[in-house]
Amino acid sequence: MHIPDGFLDLRTAATAAALAVAGLAYALRDVKRSLPPRRVPLIGLAAAFVFAAQMLNFPVAAGTSGHLIGAALASVLLGPGAAVVAMTAVLVLQALMFADGGITALGANVLNMAVVAPAVAFGVFAALRRLLGRSLRATLLAAGFAAWCSIVAAAVACAAQLAASGIVDWGTVLPAMAGVHMVIGLGEAVITMLILAVVLRARPELLDEVGRVPGTAGVTAAYGLMASVALVAFVAPLASSRPDGLEYVAERFGFAGFATVAAEPPLADYSVAALASQSPWLSTAVAGGIGTLIAFGVAWLVARALTTAGQSAAPHR
């Protein structure tokens, strides 16, 4: 998902960079305020860990393998602020040393993978954990689903940036990127859960620490806001160029304030079927919804498998 140089126009790159810097600045302040000094070296070493872990192979089929991105894992294990800093470090190194992601695109890549991804991951994780409790199984499930969400969110942001630069057509790139990453996200979810299970089994005392919301609810809200702004900043202008379908969706779901609304007759009279045929956007949204349910289901199954196996192994000792 790393965007190389030459793909983004300067306006998009600059906007993304500005947002990335803002997100990073907030995370740095958050870390300084809430992280005890003895954890500071951990951020740097965790960044090295993420880098190393990204090299691990998870074979998929016919010679291809998946790899961990690690934003969600970092977010769960270190907290969102530290995760943002660590992931930023990884991306900076990748851009400088490996040209994995361009320099002018660094802002966009940092925004997508080091700000949006950990922020979304943490938000989803914290929320789910509140709902589902603090057991190992609930934690794994929450982390897995959060990982999936983080990948998809980053992919959408990336797609939006590419479309905003005129490289690709929004109507093509969104389903392509989002669709592909909904599948890739499953891999990230499973891998994240597997690794987290190993860590939490080795260090059970981390189970309580993990996902503890740092500071106040205001902090969580701030990260959520960051992720939303990042997504909306690029999606909104595109929405305005597709007045019919996307506008309807925007109005219906309440973020019409962000999209420039063209003067269109109200669409509320249409039936759902008619809508689906008229605007591919609704069907995309439905597909997205189905994908989300599948992701949650997969995470639930894996979490169950990981925790049941542990319990049944014990009596054999």
Binding site: P4, P41, A53, L194, R203
Partner: protein
């Protein structure tokens, strides 16, 4: 595989050419300016592209770089560019766009490859530090760079140990094995982080 990885992780080519001796800040700024220039070039400005390419090649020669190593590095990094550029072909009439993107991205890549071949990473960190980038970020970058190789080697050792004890070849086994390695690596890394913290305090570091 280890040799390839080491080469990938250490792009710096030792040397004492005039290029090597230039201050890191200057080289960094020049590379950045070059990349911005390339990105700003209008599509189809092939003469300008050619001139930049020539310029970069000249610098490489002056720096006494091992051109073969530079080329290999460039080739290794191309697949990333190609895969993203392919998206452009999805659009009707995308060929000229595709070629233009390829040309620009490759030139930018070349500029970065040249920069990292003639400038030490720790010098680049020094540039960031002097540019008032927040201390926490620079410390993180420095520690990450330092312990990268340590962790990667540790990971390799664990993988080898695991493979010596794996008798089935199923995908599930590989996934579980890799996850085990990653999980253990994290635990060891956090323990090491504690020790590094003590070592930093022992030498007077005040956070």
């Amino acid at each position: 595989m280890a040799a390839l990885r080491d080469r990938l992780l250490s792009p710096y080519q030792h040397g004492s050419s005039p290029v090597h001796r230039l201050p890191a800040a200057l080289k960094f700024a020049a590379a950045l300016a070059c990349i911005v220039l390339i990105v700003l070039l209008p599509r189809g400005a092939w003469l300008a592209h050619g001139m930049i390419a020539t310029g970069l090649a000249t610098i490489a020669l002056v720096a006494g770089s091992n051109l073969r190593q530079l080329a290999i590095r460039l080739l290794l990094l191309e697949p990333f560019v190609i895969s993203v550029a392919l998206l452009a072909l999805l659009r009707p009439g995308g060929w000229p766009l595709f070629l233009s993107i390829m040309a620009k991205s490759t030139l930018c890549l070349a500029a970065m490859v040249l920069l990292t071949a003639t400038t030490r990473f720790s010098d680049l960190l020094g540039v960031l530090w002097r540019a008032r980038v927040p201390a926490l970020l620079v410390t993180t970058l420095a520690l990450m760079y330092r312990y990268l190789f340590v962790l990667v080697e540790e990971m390799e050792r664990m993988r080898r140990a695991r493979r010596s004890r794996t008798f089935t070849a199923g995908r599930g086994t590989v996934w579980r094995g890799s996850a085990q390695v990653a999980g253990q690596l994290f635990v060891r890394t956090s323990e090491r982080a504690e020790r590094v913290y003590l070592a930093m305090c022992a030498r007077g570091w005040k956070s």
